[in-house]
Symmetry: C2
DNA sequence: ATTTCAATCTGTAATGAGTTCAATTACATA
DNA sequence: TATGTAATTGAACTCATTACAGATTGAAAT
């Protein structure tokens, strides 16, 4: 069990190296968290989740790592929540639904091609987001 | 000229009354600004623009009015800019493009129906936004 | 006209996400 | 082992937004 966990972290280390990212323990742990959670976490959520494993962890480090990961294309930055930035471990283009009651963000899989445009009305597109807000299934 | 301006402000007063909104001078001026600008302004932009006409104006009042207008459906709240909320004087559903260089937000008119859904995957939709980010025509 | 009362406005203080920065630590290489 | 660069840390800071309490407004009621 411990050995298996160690193997998984070593896999992440190799992934980071292959992307020209120095695999610090902090970066490995953030990557591991993102890989295993689909909750579109905020910096604070990640901090609370992994600071137990890294007693000296600084929240600034989480900010640094996520900004770096975003630049490297490992995570996507979601501005759907006006209170704090949320992050997504990108797989494929998809939309999001954020519940105004519980704050949860759900993945939505639409048959829409708006996420795949290179240009719109002459502007060069680098990111595309389809965001819904309302009341989620569970809160209805 | 002055008379015509006064007539326009009186028209706004009637519009607000018809929506069960007490037509204070501050509210009329914010409405008038939104009606005449398509720049998706922030609170600060509106404050700077109209505080000359209202010497005692408080920025808190702009926050109050915009939150109130949003609740009444007069303006739409855009979270595309992670630094500050931007507001839109709604006409019809449309998408937005925000330039990462100059910060300007452009209206985009797509032939997409994603903005018109009532439910997605069981969740009740109240707002829908299609947001693009990149480099605008002018900054390219 | 004066009183009354709720709604609105104002300004200051508090909150909290995110950034800056200088000092410390980790780690690869010589 | 010594050195140098990159990463981490934590405190101070910025700045958008909210909370709050007192002042002002304006429309009834008397
Ligand atoms: Mn997602
Ligand atoms: Mn618009
Ligand atoms: Zn919910
Ligand atoms: Zn631009």
């Amino acid at each position: 069990m411990v050995n298996k966990n160690k193997t998984l972290l070593n896999e992440i280390k190799e992934i980071l190296k292959s992307k020209d990212i120095k695999p610090s323990y902090q970066r490995i742990m953030v990557y591991n968290y993102m890989k295993n959670h689909r909750n579109h976490p905020s910096v604070d959520t990640i901090f609370k989740a992994i600071s137990g494993s890294i007693p000296t962890l600084s929240k600034t480090t989480i900010y640094n790592i996520l900004n770096f990961f975003a630049k490297k294309g490992i995570v996507d930055t979601l501005t759907i929540d006006k209170n704090e930035v949320r992050y997504d471990f990108i797989k494929t283009p998809h939309a999001h639904f954020m519940c105004k009651i519980c704050g949860e963000i759900f993945d939505i899989h639409l048959k829409s091609d708006v996420c795949l445009k290179d240009f719109v009305e002459g502007h060069k597109v680098e990111d595309a987001h389809v965001d819904f807000k309302g009341v989620c299934k569970g809160c209805l």
